[in-house]
Structures are given as structure tokens and as C-alpha cells.
């Protein structure tokens, strides 16, 4: 964050990094096929036999259905003679795509220099595409198979889900979720806001119902059961010191941390001291989760840099 550290030294650091970056780019362009994606075509052909059942065939005839799909040739197998033999060809759409994703990654990285238009553009784009993508998934994965297929089975079967059995017919019960969805969309209308409250109430009622069961069963009752440990553990060799110490410490820590969260007893005297011990154990818990969180974040950055160095600049064998 380019806060008020002297502008000069900050710009200097970034200048150096850009120069190194440019050198790496040029060097990689010359030595290897930077950011190029090669593909090999794969033919699919189907002929219809007597009763219209299609099966794959190697010798396509005029009336058959044919199309070609493409498989990416991994960098390790991409040798010169594969290219010369003409079998592999450069796929422009995927190469442009790879370069675009590398450029977008650098756009977001530029946020370190400061909040600049490149970052805002990349961010606006990701907000748009991911929202659109999620809606497409919602349509094809849930709306069509779980709702439309129940209401208009024959139509859906002939259109996009040939595998389903369309014998069910029009199932009346599924009218209700369909109506609820339409009512939900009323919230977008400026006037009809209150209509959307019916499905929202249904939503919140169901969430309250199953969440209460889930939390009481798994987080309350089961945790108390897991908390019951004997404070005097005897292994085959008689009294065992370490497991007993661990059990006592576990119990003391759990009870004192719970006492810290008591609000109807004043934290004075004995209760005050136990609460103090409780807060210490909570601090150890937070320290542990701090360490784990940091570890996670760094792995994400490492993965992205692997993408930049591997898939794009081919410095390291891309996974």
C-alpha cells in the first residue's frame, strides 16, 4: 500500500521489479515458446443404425454426425518433430486466453502499487463474469433438472436431458416452488417488494429449523460428550503421567474458557481469575489459527506465481 512512505523509494522498488520482469519476459520469449498452447484435433463420428440408435464409427459416411474436439499437448511432450509433422497446431483462442489471464493476474498484482484503473477494470470484470457464471450453473445444474424436468418432463427430455425418463408427467406439487421463485423476483421491482417476503420467510424458517437441529446435535451435545475425559488415565503400565496431564489441561482450559463467556456473574475474585486463565487459552487458540491462516494465504500466492512462471513463461515445468 503506497501509504506515505517516501514516494521516491517506493517508485524505485517498483521500477526495479518491472525491469526484472521485462528481462525475464524477453528472455523467456527467445528461449521457449512463451505462452503458446498447441492442440491436436480428435475426430468424433456417429452413424445411426436401423432403429435410430447412434454408435461411434471410424468411417464417417455423408449422413453421419461428426465433430472434432481438441486436446492440449502438454509442454513436456511438445517436441520439434511433433510440430513439423503438422499433427499439432497452434490454437489461437487458447494462446490469447493464456496471455489474457497472465495480463489480468498482473493487473491485480498492480494493486500493490496502489489503487489504479487496471485493478478497478479487472475487479469490475471478475464481479460481472462470476455473477453471470453462477447464474448459468444455477440454470443448467438445478433449474432444468430439478424443476423444469418435473413440470415438463417430455419437453426437457427431448431438449437437453435425453437420459431422464419422461414418464413422470406434469407433477403438480412442483408448481409451488415455481411460484415462490417468481414471487422472490418481485423484490427487484420497486413497488412489489412485500410480495417477496413470503418466499424469504419460507427460506428463513427452513434455515432456522435445520440449523437449530444441526448445531444442538453436533456442536452442543456431541461436544459435551467429547469433553468427558477421565482425569486419571492408566495405561497397561499403570499410571501414565503425560496423558493424564493432557486430560487435566484440556478440561481446565475448556471450563475456564467457557467461564470467560459467562455474562451473569461478575468477573471478580475466583471467577475473575478463572476467566483470566480462560482468556490465555483463548489467546493460544487464536495464535494457532493465526499461524494456520498465514500459511494458507502464502500457498495461494505460491500457486499463482507457479502459474505465471510455469504455464506462461515456461521457466519451470508447468504442472
Amino acid at each position: 500500500m503506497s501509504t506515505d512512505t517516501p514516494k521516491k523509494s517506493n517508485a524505485l522498488i517498483w521500477g526495479i521489479i518491472f525491469v526484472i520482469g521485462a528481462i525475464m519476459l524477453v528472455w523467456s520469449m527467445t528461449t521457449s515458446r512463451t505462452g503458446q498452447v498447441w492442440i491436436t484435433p480428435e475426430q468424433h463420428a456417429f452413424t445411426a443404425d436401423a432403429d435410430g440408435k447412434y454408435s461411434t464409427t471410424q468411417t464417417p459416411v455423408a449422413g453421419d454426425i461428426e465433430w472434432t474436439t481438441y486436446n492440449v499437448v502438454p509442454d513436456s511432450e511438445l517436441t520439434q518433430e511433433v510440430i513439423d509433422s503438422g499433427e499439432a497446431s497452434l490454437s489461437w483462442s487458447r494462446t490469447i486466453g493464456l496471455w489474457l489471464s497472465a495480463i489480468f493476474t498482473l493487473f491485480i498484482l498492480s494493486f500493490l502499487v496502489g489503487d489504479n484503473p487496471a485493478y478497478k477494470f479487472a475487479e469490475a470484470m471478475v464481479v460481472g463474469t462470476s455473477a453471470g457464471y453462477v447464474m448459468v450453473i444455477g440454470l443448467w445444474d438445478v433449474f432444468v433438472p430439478n424443476l423444469l424436468a418435473k413440470l415438463f418432463p417430455v419437453l426437457v427430455q427431448s431438449w437437453t436431458l435425453p437420459g431422464m425418463d419422461a414418464s413422470g408427467g406434469f407433477q403438480w406439487l412442483y408448481i409451488i416452488p415455481a411460484i415462490l421463485i417468481i414471487m422472490l423476483l418481485f423484490q427487484l421491482m420497486p413497488s412489489g417488494g412485500w410480495i417477496s417476503r413470503w418466499p424469504i420467510a419460507f427460506f428463513i424458517g427452513i434455515t432456522a429449523g435445520y440449523r437449530m437441529i444441526g448445531y444442538v446435535e453436533a456442536d452442543l451435545v456431541a461436544q459435551i460428550k467429547a469433553g468427558i475425559v477421565p482425569l486419571w488415565i492408566t495405561g497397561e503400565g499403570g499410571f501414565e503421567f503425560w496423558p493424564t496431564f493432557n486430560a487435566i489441561l484440556l478440561t481446565v482450559a475448556t471450563l475456564s474458557a467457557m467461564i470467560y463467556f459467562f455474562f451473569s456473574i461478575e468477573h471478580k475474585g475466583l471467577v475473575g481469575k478463572t476467566a483470566r486463565v480462560g482468556i490465555w487459552f483463548l489467546m493460544i487458540t487464536f495464535g494457532a489459527s493465526f499461524g494456520y491462516t498465514v500459511m494458507g494465504r502464502i500457498a495461494l500466492l505460491a500457486a499463482r506465481l507457479e502459474f505465471l512462471f510455469g504455464d506462461w513463461l515456461h521457466f519451470i515445468p508447468s504442472s
Binding site: 457464471y133 433438472p145 431422464m164 435445520y210 502464502i298 500457498a299 495461494l300 505460491a302 500457486a303
Partner: protein
């Protein structure tokens, strides 16, 4: 930090892994199952946490494929099904003898999060009438006589948040006693420890545990050790070490300056 992470990547440094108890627990939970038992893998993460969780997901897939378990894939996050596709590509490329429909099957993403889990613990077909290729469940050999996931011998859940491991423990592991194993992000791992061992057989926390799990698979099945794709997490441990040491140095220096200024302030 940028340099601290990129230099080890370029230098391709790899460190030996010491397998910790948690990684062992997870490894045993999968390895002790008789070959060909039914395993439900739910990938509840998205490309944002792919850096941390994909090596774990791939390691789970390889381990189950070696053991010949019947793998049922599903996803509770909208961007999760492409992650399942990556695992299926791994199976098709590295274990060609496994057949779709007999050894592994993929279900589509369904909205509803925890409500999907509650649904499939009682009635699988209520949620998934077809698999992702559009074939009805009754025509697929491995799902023909599976009524709900109580018939599963193990649930493996790779999760990056909500809905994730906590929901699988609350709505599948605790009420129905299905053994569950989880791989989750560093942010979540500490919150899953109280569930071990009664409700959760083991937890893999962040990339370090993924590297340990990969090491455990390499020791048990040496044939996998030379497959570069199976060393993904180990390769990512190099930058972890340098970055962690940098973090410690930064905290120490920061606090040292803080104490100096406070002492000068008081003196």
C-alpha cells in the same frame, strides 16, 4: 514477500516431509478400508482457494484410485464442479483402467448448501436423479442400489468455508455416524479439531498437511513417487518455509522497534 515466494519457486527447492499424526489419521482412514468400498468425495471449494486445496483433492483421488474404491464425486460450491472435472481428468489420464459408471461417477452442483446434505442422507434420488452426463441413476451400476449416503463407507470433504466440513459434520457425520475425513484451508482447520476423533476421523490443514499426505502415499505406494503431478504440494512447501521465516523476522523486528520506541518514550 513477492521475492520471498518467487525465488524458491524458480529454484525449485523441495524439503523432506515429516508425516504428522493428523496426516497419518487421514491416510489410515482411507487405507484401512477394504478395496472397492464406497467413498463420497465432496469438493466444496473454488478457484480462489485452489492453490491450497487442489493438491489435497488430487492426492485423495489418486489414493482412492490406487485402492480401487468406488468414488462418488459431488460439489456444494457453484465453482466446485470444474474442480471435480480436474480430478476426473487425473483418473482418465493416470488410471485408464477405471471405468466411468463402475468405479467413479460425478454428480452436478446443487444449490442449497447444508440442505443438500440433509436431503441426500435420506434420499439420494430426491436431489440427484441424473448424474452429470445425464444418465439416470438406475442405469449406472455403482449407484443402482444406493438409496442414500448412509450406505457410504467414508465421506471425504475438501472444503474452503461454508457450506463445508462443519456442515458435513453437523448433518452427515454426527446424526448418521458416517466416518468423515476432511481437507480444509488453513483458516478453517483449527476450528475442526474439537470434532476429532468422534465426529471427524482426521483433518488435513492447509498445504503443509497436503504435502505430508502426499509423502504418506509415496511411502505406501512407491510407484506414485515418480509421477511429477503427485508432488504438487511438496513443491509448494519451498516458498512456504522462506515466507514463514520472513514473517517471523518481520514480527520480531516490528516488535523490537516498538519496544525500543516505548522504552525511549518512557525513559
Amino acid at each position: 514477500m513477492l521475492l520471498a515466494v518467487s525465488i524458491p519457486i524458480l529454484a525449485k527447492t523441495v524439503f523432506p516431509e515429516v508425516i504428522s499424526r493428523q496426516a497419518k489419521l487421514v491416510f489410515d482412514a482411507i487405507d484401512d478400508l477394504p478395496d472397492g468400498s464406497r467413498v463420497l468425495l465432496s469438493y466444496d471449494f473454488d478457484p480462489a482457494s485452489q492453490g491450497e486445496l487442489l493438491p489435497m483433492a488430487q492426492a485423495f483421488t489418486r489414493h482412492c484410485s490406487i485402492k480401487g474404491h468406488k468414488q462418488y464425486y459431488m460439489a456444494l460450491w457453484p465453482l466446485g464442479s470444474p474442480m471435480v472435472d480436474l480430478s476426473i481428468d487425473t483418473i482418465e489420464s493416470e488410471y485408464p483402467d477405471l471405468v466411468y459408471g463402475e468405479d467413479y461417477v460425478k454428480f452436478d452442483y446443487k444449490t442449497g448448501g447444508e440442505a443438500v446434505i440433509r436431503m441426500i442422507t435420506q434420499d439420494l434420488r430426491g436431489m440427484f436423479e441424473l448424474d452429470s452426463k445425464g444418465i439416470s441413476l438406475d442405469d449406472i451400476p455403482m449407484t443402482k442400489n444406493v438409496k442414500n449416503i448412509q450406505d457410504m463407507d467414508l465421506i471425504i470433504n475438501v472444503s474452503a468455508g461454508d457450506p463445508g466440513t462443519k456442515q458435513w459434520v453437523q448433518f452427515a457425520a454426527t446424526p448418521f455416524g458416517i466416518t468423515t475425513v476432511s481437507g480444509c484451508t488453513g483458516v478453517q482447520a483449527p476450528q475442526m479439531y474439537p470434532y476429532i476423533p468422534e465426529q471427524l476421523a482426521g483433518v488435513l490443514g492447509a498445504i503443509k498437511a497436503a504435502a505430508e499426505y502426499e509423502a504418506a502415499i509415496d511411502d505406501a505406494y512407491p510407484s506414485i513417487a515418480d509421477n511429477p503431478k503427485a508432488q504438487e504440494a511438496k513443491r509448494r512447501m519451498g516458498p512456504q518455509l522462506v515466507a514463514h521465516s520472513l514473517m517471523i523476522v518481520l514480527i520480531l523486528v516490528g516488535n523490537w522497534i516498538f519496544f525500543m520506541s516505548r522504552k525511549r518514550g518512557q525513559a
